[in-house]
Amino acid sequence: VTVEMAYWEARARAVSRAIDADPSIIMVGGYFSAPFNPPDGLIERHSDRIVQPPISEMVQCGFGIGAAMAGLRPLVSLNTSSFMFYGWPQVANEAPNIRYLSGGLVTAPVVFHVLAGSRRFGGPQHEHEPQAMLQNVPGLRIFAPATPADVDGLVHAAFHGDDPVLLVDHLLLAHATGPVPEHPDSALGRADVMRRGRDVVIVAYSVMVQRALLAAELLAAAGIEASVLNLRTLAPLPVEDVLRIVRNHPAAVFVDEAHGPGSAASYLMARVLEAEATRRARLVCMGDAPAPFAEQLLDALVPTVERIAGECAALLGRQLGE
């Protein structure tokens, strides 16, 4: 039965179901469950499998890797994505190499959960997009859900795969609503068409999908019909799905909350141009400055609904109506 729910409810349900079903799952750091989740009894039910480390991200991440190599499935809950920088060597330089260095004899299926992107009012040190850096690290899976159904399916996939996973979550998705199927859709490397329109396709992931959908509403009011493609995963990156949908549109806009250099958006645009899938393409990324604290400053940098819609219209040589 497909039910409508909020993103945070879907996330809590997916994590609770996984931990209830699989005794090998442990949670290292409990922020996944609290304070963002309801008091659903998860911690009480599994107090032997939910451990609270000190503020020691290096050993928190490394502990998860060690436990994963020894057969457990740790969910390492790091909260704000920049906290991961203090455990970075483990995420970027240990976990991704274990399968490769062992010829597949040893795997480290650890899930690193972070709240990435701009939460607003976080300031320069609490608003980062480490997924852009880590897509340069072979051996990591990077999942970036945008909808309640996505988080349901990708949490499931993270716990059932055999690779280390970076789960790129976003605080501002918490109250997004949408249908969640009874059985998780855990397909990897397949993008979802969220909206269909003939004039332009907006390619995005995570919270930028929600903004792209709102931008498509603004565009529709101006007579421009936009498609919205939700990437769902950055590694694997659904390049074929992107090429296919771009070929069917006269223009493509790639939206990323990460800074442009080294972003998933800029790489996808390179692939699209290389494949000659379109000649009209544009990047809409975070402006090249740290995330400022004050709202009006942040909105000058981060891709807003209005900016996404405006860039789409401009690419088509049109203007948004008053």
Partner: protein, 329 residues
Amino acid sequence: MSQHVICADPALLLEPMLRARRFDELLIANAGEIRGHYHVSIGLESTAAALARLHRAGDTVTTTYRNHAHLAALGSDLAVMFAEVLGRDLGPQRGRAGSTHLIDPTVGVLHTSAMVSGGVPHALGLAFAGSRARPGSVAFCFFGDGAFGEGAVHESLNLAALWRLPVVFVCENNGLRHGDQANAFQSAASLVAIAEAHAVAGVAVDGRSPAAVYEAMERLTAEVRGSAGPRFLDDQAPQWEGNRTMFPHDATGRTAIEDATRTDGDSWHAHDDPVLAECRRLLSGGVPLDELMRVDARVSAIADEALSRARAAPVAPPEAALADVVAAP
């Protein structure tokens, strides 16, 4: 020193030490065949031998870029180890690891980080998971004294003590004491003091005495197996002269077992070599030199044959470069 507690049996410590020593000596003797860097464990064989004797099924081990002695002593196939250093396609690593990342999952060495302190936090997770699956199992965690400069060691000591994780921390300390400091890079008086500041009880031992190292590590490991929480060993083994250069060099010549009968002069073999120290202990325990020579001849033949087998293996093919990056979808 209570060396007489353990038996005078060459199979106990000498044999695993010789596996390590002969492996590294052969590498240096054939360095021209090695394209790339490598590190040898010469002078650090005491802890490896103790590990080999104390390691039980279900235990795990994290080691470092200086891992040869640990694997050789644990009984890893020396041919696979040679082949990996030579970039050949014999074992599971297929030339992607080289000397610094050698592993052997069959003896609990699941991943070897070549970063200073990189593998230390892994030991905690391995200990946590391992002891849940098999109570009484431990994780042996090896690192050098330089790793105390990294936060990971301090974080790991703290968390292991906080959660009473069954980790045997072994610091292979080849740093020289520096005035009142543990070494030139530490302000603390000793490494044991640092461990104890994190509530991890520890002891220092003279790494040149394999029997003393074994006895200390046996006691600490027994305590850890008995759920006493983590323990720390400061294995003080002076750096072998051949390791003072960027690439190892043959500073002291091939180890001659018969030199164990001599302690004259000021040579490394006379005073600092743990292999010959163990030979001397065995000789004083009544084991004839001939028997030690026979053990060495057997181990040396195994090492020679292993190198031949590695040389006969094909070079790693280009397609291995893109294999095993992620699981099949």
